[in-house]
Symmetry: C2
């Protein structure tokens, strides 16, 4: 048994390319169809209602490309829309919240875990719910860091300003003595250096991309859904808008040259009405 | 002759409320219909194609409320989509680029003018075109400041971090000796204090909201389109998404309590197809 269909991955923008990078590393035979909703980015500052609507349209766009599963590579969409997607779609859907949370629970030594993310992710309390259900006695501390995304997009990875902002955002967590910190946004691994420096070298940073693709790999093997690998995988990258710096930022995320990116007409995305989803269920 | 219809104002988000604030001050008899496209904010990082599409949909939404004119309160949309809107719509359309540019040309003493704005605004070169056409010998220096919007939204108006970032962005302009600086983004007046401090008290800061509404007032008087003022003006505020902090940030912009805001279903906006515009021309 095998399944040569591609893995569908979406994100609010290009941050989800960190997940694509991990697929290339851990699952080199798999094809990927990626959609980045760059016309409506960011999701982290939008309401739950809007994020759910966007996430559903993004998933439905990927279904058109006959994907065998969907990875929600956006932390905000994972935190806010994963249940809805799992409920509405009849194919495996993976988020980035649970794999990151699980890894943190495994790694912590003192039971004090921190989560940083967008306002949307933190206010959703998705990490609190997931981790308290598994370990009610865990001490969980969360902090929105709205300036981290624009800092990463500006390319200010290790300036004095970035360090100062990280000190402001992370000071309570540091004082509370957390020993494990979940980087709950796809952009944050780009600031790993400065975050590690501010938190100290003893604190373990959890990058959810790696953990998420590890879960995907396990499920593919268990369900015998791997690509048999007889043909070279084919990757396609779609975005809803191509801003000036797309190529530059994308290659920073992917750590390699970005293959041609296709721009989707927003009208195609907007026509994917949520009300029509129930009749579009696929097995 | 008079015209009691409301003035339509749109912005990518809530920054355009600075223009509404000026209408309240300079034209207290006028009614306002405001639309903030908070579901797709920001425009400053998006492509020209997307900004034009969004701006056209925003304008068409306002037309449904029988507005007598449209003010594009978003600098990015003004810079990129104003010509398109003026071309397609048969009612007066005002942007924020020209009034700010005109005011700067009037105020400068040494002929050296700076413009700061989003990447979209700066890359469009709208200010360069407008000001060089009027005064080819003007020295114009432009600088995108992508972190200013998130800093203002975070409420970090006068922190040491904001000052340091302003120093980084503004250092070349300061060295070049510009004596007039256009705040080419609706969010930037919130950072006026720190910008003035970094540039020095001799540099004149141009806030386009005030200048734009002054132009609107002149045209209303010239065309005898003022509201006769027999009835109390009625204001309506629409947004495409209501994020958590909307009320707080909105009141910071308006400088007063925000009247009830109505959320528009995004499907209504998305259904306003540009291809249908020509048949919707109004006089």
């Amino acid at each position: 048994m095998s399944d040569s269909r591609p893995i569908g991955i979406f994100d609010s923008g290009i941050g989800g390319l960190t997940v694509v990078h991990e697929v290339f590393r851990q699952l080199p035979d798999e094809s990927v169809v990626y959609f980045g909703d760059t016309a409506r980015v960011p999701y982290g500052t939008k309401s739950a209602q809007s994020v759910q609507r966007f996430a559903m349209q993004d998933a439905m766009f990927l279904l058109k490309y006959n994907v065998k599963m969907i990875v929600v590579a956006c932390h905000t969409a994972s935190a806010i829309a994963l249940n809805l997607l799992c409920d509405q779609l009849s194919l495996p859907v993976f988020g980035v919240t649970e794999p990151g949370g699980k890894a943190a629970l495994k790694q912590t030594r003192n039971g004090k875990i921190g989560v940083i993310g967008t306002r949307g992710t933190i206010h959703s309390k998705a990490y609190d719910r997931y981790m308290n259900a598994l370990h009610p006695d865990i001490f969980l501390m969360t902090q929105p860091c709205p300036l981290f995304v624009p800092l990463a997009e500006e390319g200010w990875m290790d300036t004095d300003v970035t360090e100062r902002i990280a000190q402001i955002y992370l000071s309570s967590m540091k004082r509370a003595g957390i020993d494990t910190l979940i980087l709950g946004c796809t952009h944050y691994p780009l600031l790993k250096g400065v975050i590690q420096q501010v938190m100290g070298s003893d604190v373990i940073l959890i990058d959810s991309a790696e953990e998420t693709v590890r879960s995907v790999k396990q499920v593919l093997q268990k369900k015998q859904m791997n690509n048999p690998g007889q043909r070279k995988p084919i990757h396609r990258f779609f975005v809803s808008d191509i801003p000036d710096q797309f190529q530059e930022i994308g290659e920073r995320f992917l750590g390699c040259t970005l293959s041609p990116v296709e721009q989707v007409d927003m009208e195609v995305i907007e026509m994917l009405k949520i009300s029509k989803i129930s009749s579009m269920k696929i097995e």
